[in-house]
Symmetry: C2
Subunit: 341 residues, 2 copies
DNA sequence: TTGAAAGCGCTAACAA
DNA sequence: TTGTTAGCGCTTTCAA
């Protein structure tokens, strides 16, 4: 007995005494097909338990209905939120999502890119690894005209779309907020300055200082991986300073929270002695005591928009404009930076 | 000019004056092929920039090298860790991972299952939605003999493998620990009892009470979605009780932490008045003050093992045993449950 | 050890 | 509006 999945369009054709191409047309909602024929085909297909064969179709059409996404790390709060948004939108549009993680290394990013290319994804979304310095390894895609969407950690590239938040503005606002709270010696914990997200936030920080006539001091800037370790290290560094900083703007919540924990252990009071602002609006921000002021970073939305943009590009191949989509962010003020004045 | 990706085995064959079948054999490491021929083929393939065409291959072999995973939610700490582990192992073995989320609803789970089936995944891994009551919708897979691996939230099914931790034991240990700290009126925050994970933990809790001759009280059990809202609600409920409980065992950290926050606001001291134990070892457990005692739940490992098991099954179709793989868990004792005695 | 040939299931150009 | 036919690129059976 033939199992359900062995039914092909030929079986349907035979059973209806029509040709396979007509069946194909009926199933794909082709314009020049009689309504009745189409109905008949669809009904029979259902009755016979027909399942569309993606490979045959992909092979023929040279289109896979699969989109790839490469990101530094799946298991971070922000990224899992992004993926969640992507998956939702893809699903609604009948695309499949294949995922891989670069583990923050260009080497793996290159390998992932190749795998994605081999699986013939229709399009690619990527947030760059920590140490990616150029886009040479994307040539494969560019040359073949496979659309690439950059999100969050992006590089400008002709013909590509980027989805980001205004990191400069966010960094600026965060710093101004600290200054408004009376801070004058503000430290910055940043990530690699070859990554737009960290560079822009850093520049926002510098601009804010400048606008308020506070001298910028190199010693107040600490560039690192922004993990827990970072937070602890910086806390140690601070504890050894003759004059404490009175404010800290960290480029993510993980490091900010680790730092706060360590400082609290040493009896430093936050925000009275040191006010702290983080970045991401990670759930931990609402758990640490005092609650952490931070920048809300809409991962879900970013994922949704990246996918929507990509699908749009796939559907009309003409569009090849370079474009940057900026999503709103929001400074969420909580206790960690609020001083009674 | 032909672009790189247009190179097929025929092009290689022509350039070497051999047949396409030989090229195919060379590329696939077929046994009966001369070493030199193989070398020559591989070298030429590389030189010409040949890219293997997955679809043609899948179409022919009826195997896709793609594995599907369906889970309730991508953006939870635990699940993102699981995915991370899966992706890693898949990547090492040359498989692709396609992901979808059921959003905790059977309805979506059914839809996802169908999509996965249509994309002809070689195998499926799944953690069940909150309200899945049976496995009817898996018949598609069972009938066609596509291997299904259940992980975390599982249902026993003949021929399927499950990957879990010993939730009964974990619940038991957690409760015993509270009793050892002097607790006698222990509440339990659990999830749906049709899900093994929550049922087993609940049973572990009951057994522990029984073993220590503490009466089980229905009023002390609160079944819910185990989100933040839950934690707050239960806290309110507790605050209204004439006699407070002296211990709480929650089936996840999210609810435990929300509950602690609310209780702390009302001046209840933890662990002195109420000792708390959570579940998952979510990073927030180490941030809340006092740090939360919890059960470490190895998501990464669970993902890796699920994939490894599945790939193993795919490689030797004979194995059809029903099997349950139990991964180690660990009770991590922190301040939230430690009383000076 | 290699080659010839058929066919996986679908789509699309062309013909009717 | 429908049918005929060729072919997407690969694997595999059978023959040499």
């Amino acid at each position: 007995m033939k199992s359900r999945s062995d039914i092909t369009i030929y079986d349907i054709a035979k059973s209806l005494n029509i040709s396979a191409s007509t069946v194909s047309r009926g199933l794909n909602d082709h314009k020049s097909i009689r309504k009745e024929t189409k109905k008949k085909i669809i009904r029979t297909a259902r009755e016979m338990g027909y399942q569309h064969n993606t490979f045959a179709s992909s092979l023929r059409k040279k289109r896979t209905n699969t989109i790839g996404v490469i990101l530094p790390r799946i298991n971070s709060y922000f990224m899992s939120t992004v993926i969640s948004g992507m998956e939702k939108t893809m699903n609604q549009n009948g695309y499949n999502l294949i995922i891989s993680q670069s583990q923050e290394s260009v080497q793996r990013e290159i390998a992932n890119l190749e795998t994605m290319f081999n699986s013939r994804v229709d399009g690619l979304m990527i947030s760059l690894a920590y140490d990616t310095k150029d886009l040479k390894h994307f040539d494969l895609f560019f040359r073949k005209g496979i659309p690439v969407i950059f999100f969050d950690r992006v590089f400008e590239h002709p013909g590509c779309t980027s989805v980001v938040i205004d990191n400069f503005r966010a960094g600026y606002d965060a710093t101004i907020h600290l200054i408004d709270q009376g801070c004058e010696r503000i430290m910055h914990l940043g990530g690699s300055l070859i990554r737009n997200v960290y560079l822009d936030r850093f520049n926002g920080y510098k601009k804010a200082l400048k606008d308020r006539a506070i001298p910028f001091e190199k010693e107040f800037v600490h560039i690192s991986m922004l993990n827990e370790q970072t937070g602890i290290e910086v806390a140690e560094k601070i504890l050894k300073m003759k004059q404490l900083p009175d404010g800290i703007f960290a480029s993510n919540d993980t490091s900010a929270v680790a730092l706060m924990c360590r400082l609290k252990e040493e009896g430093i009071s936050i925000p009275e002695q040191i006010a702290v602002v983080g970045f991401n609006n990670n759930p931990i921000a609402k758990i640490i005591d005092p609650n952490l002021t931070t920048v809300d970073y809409p991962g879900q939305k970013m994922g949704e928009i990246a996918v929507a943009t990509l699908i749009d590009k796939l559907n009309r191949s003409d569009e090849n404009k370079t474009r940057t989509i900026v999503i709103d962010h929001e400074l969420i003020i909580r206790q960690s930076s609020l001083r009674d004045q």
